[in-house]
Amino acid sequence: MSTHTHVSANASTSASMNASMIRRLVTKDLYLYRWFIVGATLAGLASLFVSGLHGMTGLILFMTTIVALGIFIAMYGILVERKEKTLLFVLSLPVTPLQYATAKVFAALIAFLVPVLVLAAAALSYNVAFDPPLNGEIPFTVVTLGLFLANFCFLVALLLVSGAEFWAVAGVVLTNLTVPLFMNVVVGLPGIREYIQGPVAVWSPTIFAILGTEATVAVLSLGIAFYVQSRRTDFI
């Protein structure tokens, strides 16, 4: 019951080819990001050390490190590539636009998540050193890291779709504005404020609702970016 007007590649071959090509592209990007990953991890660890001496300064440095990492990866990996006209070179290779977008997103996520997870683990270990441990802060820290991840995904998606400097700046401003708003509003929400200073980590429905919202923003942003990229026909 199907028409055979089009000579399409065997589906299974396409799938393995797809995975193989994406892996190569991801490896290339990670190689280019390697100094960002190392630098952000070191800077984050240093900020944790500073927070032991001066809590607020260390916290601000820690957050700045993660925000800056996200911006650097998105700008360097996507925007600069377009600006310096390396994108056309990549697209002239046997690579589909969707493979390119998938590899970009995977590489960016890995480059972002590896330092963030390392730093989160370090912060958790650091927390254990307190007596009693500030476990009540853990859920709030997780949703804050979730915000950074959602913001990062949004920025990556925006740059993938637009590729324009104007939108990059707008995206950075917008995502940065969400951080103080988030810190002020979310801390006061019921389900968070009563437990944040406590010795026990309470995973209230509020926490899960925020995490769900962050996950939705992240998935939706990337989903739209993939969709737009898969339907693009002009790359010049």
Binding site: M1, S2, T3, H4, T5, H6, V7, S8, A9, N10, A11, S12, T13, S14, A15, S16, M17, S20, M21, R24, K28, Y31, L32, E81, E84, K85, T86, L88, F89, L91, S92, L93, P94, V95, T96, Q99, S230, R231, T233, D234, F235, I236
Partner: protein, 704 residues
């Protein structure tokens, strides 16, 4: 949108209609008593059934009519009949033998479990009697429509409209009415008339499913027949489908509105005590019948348009699902009904049972399709071809080899632009251009700035899509990665990552190809060995071009695009690159070269294509290009009257310049003879053969 892309979209729509049938049947036990009444009943699933039932088969028969006309015109009546017998008649008969008995048995078991043995038996006695066509009724009606269509068409062509005038008028009516948004009102009329008059019409169930008895049912003939005929007529003027694409959101919005109205009139679930009546004023029956029948068409147009809008690209995954959908639909009913009966006693909520039934059915049938149907004769019948089983991979985890289709096309032209038009806004960058590259040749594409050279290259690389015409690279679409595995590209205005070293760039790029050169080989051929350890960002402009050349050839391409390759190179580097290019050509590589250095084209190219203002103004060998203009230039000192020369046949232009006579003529030899006869004292005679540069200037000036 190309014809090919339209077919991808329509194929996806047809698969959608078939697969929705599985969902539709899976809802039944949750609001109805066939095959069994589940204790967990659902209004949501009743509405789901209702909505799907409104449009599903209308959409299917529209597409069936479209494809029937297409196959008939492509293969002729005899092959059409053979194909339909194989793909429709055989599955129908085999299905009745193998699928209908277990389905009926499961329904009996389900009814017995629901109502008890006695009630089920007495209920069965009151059911309509006749041959159980089961869900395969649609194949039976397809056969009826095929026979009717062929008969009516033959009579029409022979007796009514031998000159095609009437058909042309029908096409016009179809085109105009579809463009007006009002076509559904007209198309709904036959079914409206049939249903409205039918006192036994069970309104909630919409267009009655004709699954019992061989006697054709009037509602099915009116509803599905109209859809089939419209599909048939649509294929006569496929561009009309563009209207569906454009209007899809409006059509879907109207469809949703009308279906909501219908549900508000008839209720969200079937009222088993009053299926043939409506609560409310007398006009509500007419309103319901009108809204229902019109909504069918808005749904069908809206969904067809959505498919054309969103599924118009080739996709191996979608292709697979489209291929499998026929088998899935044919075989699904006993599985779905069996699961519904099996789950009857489980105290699960419908929100668990329903997805479980759908997912399990799809999983079982997809596995059976993959292993028992697709690679076997059954696949040959249902899909029109057998797909070979996947062979175990033996190679290392390198990039896969090009597909068989690509390999098979080595004998064909490596790069083709066929009647391609590409616009940027109001600017026509390429205007109906046809260009081909033969195996092993170098085609130089020449033209002034803005001539369309870069657009042509971008089309070949899949960076742009043509507005009209087709583009092929290594026999396939440039959007197919497999075709690009044998293509190397050196673009004019690109950059590579500045932080990577030259060796890293070449190794990285080579890894994307199936059979690349090794890195040292690529470095040596391109003359970049001394640069291997340097970062790309630290190189000079000329060195960067050399590295880009190395990157372009490292995949051992069979087709190489070189866009201004020697810009910025010193003479030595340029000659080295020429030697490398000549070596690649000697090894059978086809090359497309764009350059402003005409001596480069003159030295290297087998053939030249001159573009000007988006049009192909000339194509041929370098000698051919020269010959287009060399016959025109004669210069001498002579006293012959210039006006007299202008009157000679073959003279394009004649003028006197500082005592010299300069003649541009088509036939230089005869003009020279006449000049010598007219003026024996003629001196300083010069018949000049134009260079490629002059030919180029002349040709592009003419085009301007």
């Amino acid at each position: 949108m190309s014809q090919e892309n339209r077919l991808h979209a329509l194929d996806a729509a047809r698969a959608f209609a078939l697969l929705l049938g599985i969902v539709l049947h899976a809802t039944m036990s949750f609001f109805f008593f066939v095959p069994a009444q589940d204790p967990s009943q659902s209004t949501t699933l009743a509405v789901t059934f209702y909505v799907i039932h409104v449009f599903r088969m209308g959409l299917f028969f529209l597409l069936a009519g479209f494809f029937a006309h297409m196959v008939l015109h492509r293969r002729g009546t005899r092959e059409f009949l053979k194909g339909r017998a194989k793909r429709i008649l055989v599955p129908m008969i085999v299905g009745w033998v193998l699928i209908a008995p277990p389905t009926i048995y499961i329904v009996i078991v389900g009814l017995t479990k629901t109502f008890g043995e006695q009630a089920a038996a007495s209920g069965a006695a009151t059911m309509p009697q006749g041959f159980p066509l089961t869900h395969l009724w649609f194949l039976y009606y397809l056969c009826i429509f095929y026979v009717l269509a062929l008969g009516v068409r033959a009579a029409f062509v022979r007796f009514v409209d031998p000159n095609g005038v009437v058909r042309s008028r029908i096409d016009t009516v179809v085109r105009l009415s579809l463009a007006s948004y009002l076509a559904p009102l007209v198309l709904a009329a036959p079914l409206f008339a049939v249903l409205y008059k039918d006192a036994a019409w069970m309104m909630w169930f919409g267009l009655p499913t004709p699954d019992i008895g061989f006697t054709p049912k009037l509602p099915a003939l009116a509803g599905f027949g109209t859809a089939f005929v419209l599909g048939w007529l649509l294929h006569r003027q496929v561009e009309v489908l563009e209207v569906f694409r454009r209007q899809c959101f409006v059509n879907l919005a109207v469809a949703i509105g009308l279906t909501s109205l219908c549900l508000s009139l008839v209720g969200l679930k079937p009222n088993m005590m009053g299926l043939t009546t409506l609560d409310g004023p007398a006009w509500s029956r007419a309103a319901y019948a009108g809204a229902y029948t019109v909504s069918i068409w808005y749904w069908v147009f809206g969904l067809t348009g959505a498919a054309l809008r969103f599924f118009n690209k080739p996709s191996p995954g979608r292709r697979y699902i489209a291929d499998s959908s026929y088998w899935l639909y044919l075989a699904h009913l006993p599985v779905v009904f069996g699961l519904q009966v099996l789950l009857l006693d489980l105290p699960w909520h419908w929100s668990l049972k329903f997805p479980f039934i759908v997912v399990t059915t799809l999983a079982i049938l997809l596995v059976s399709y993959h292993y028992l149907v697709r690679p076997t004769f059954i696949g040959g019948i249902l899909n029109g071809r057998k797909y070979p089983r996947r062979s175990r991979r033996t190679g290392s985890d390198t990039a896969p080899a090009p597909s068989a289709s690509v390999l098979a096309l080595h004998d064909t032209k490596p790069a083709v632009l066929e009647n391609v038009t590409r616009r940027f806004g109001k600017t026509v960058a390429l205007d109906d251009v046809t260009l081909t590259v033969e195996p092993g040749e170098m085609l130089a594409v020449l033209g002034p700035n803005g001539a369309g050279k870069s657009t042509a290259i971008s089309l070949w690389l899949g960076l742009l899509e043509p507005d009209e015409g087709s583009v092929r690279v290594m026999g396939a679409s440039p959007l197919e990665v497999t075709s690009r595995l044998e293509v190397g590209v050196m673009m004019q205005d690109v950059n590579l990552a500045p932080d990577l070293k030259v060796r890293e760039h070449i190794a990285q790029t080579a890894s994307y190809y199936a059979h690349p050169l090794n890195v040292d080989e690529a470095l040596a051929i391109s003359g970049t060995t001394p640069l291997a350890g340097k970062r790309y960002g630290k190189l000079s402009g000329g060195q960067k071009r050399q590295v880009q050349f190395a990157v372009a050839i490292c995949g051992a391409p069979k087709l190489l695009f070189l866009d201004e390759p020697t810009v910025g190179l010193d003479i030595e580097a340029r000659e080295a690159m020429w030697r490398a290019i000549a070596k690649l050509m000697a090894e059978g590589c086809s090359i497309v070269l764009t350059t402003h250095y005409l001596e480069e084209a003159e030295a290297l190219a087998d053939r030249v294509a001159v573009l000007a203002k988006g049009k192909l103004v000339a194509t041929g060998s370098v000698e051919d290009m020269r010959s287009l203009v060399t016959r025109r230039r004669i210069s001498c000192r002579s006293g012959v009257d210039i006006d007299e020369i202008r009157g000679w046949p073959g003279v394009v232009e004649a003028l006197r310049d500082a005592g010299n006579v300069k003649v541009t003529a088509f036939d230089a030899e005869s003009i020279v003879r006449r000049l010598l006869v007219a003026d024996p004292a003629l001196s300083h005679l010069e018949v000049r053969q134009a260079s490629l540069a002059e030919a180029f200037t002349e040709l592009t000036k003419e085009a301007a």
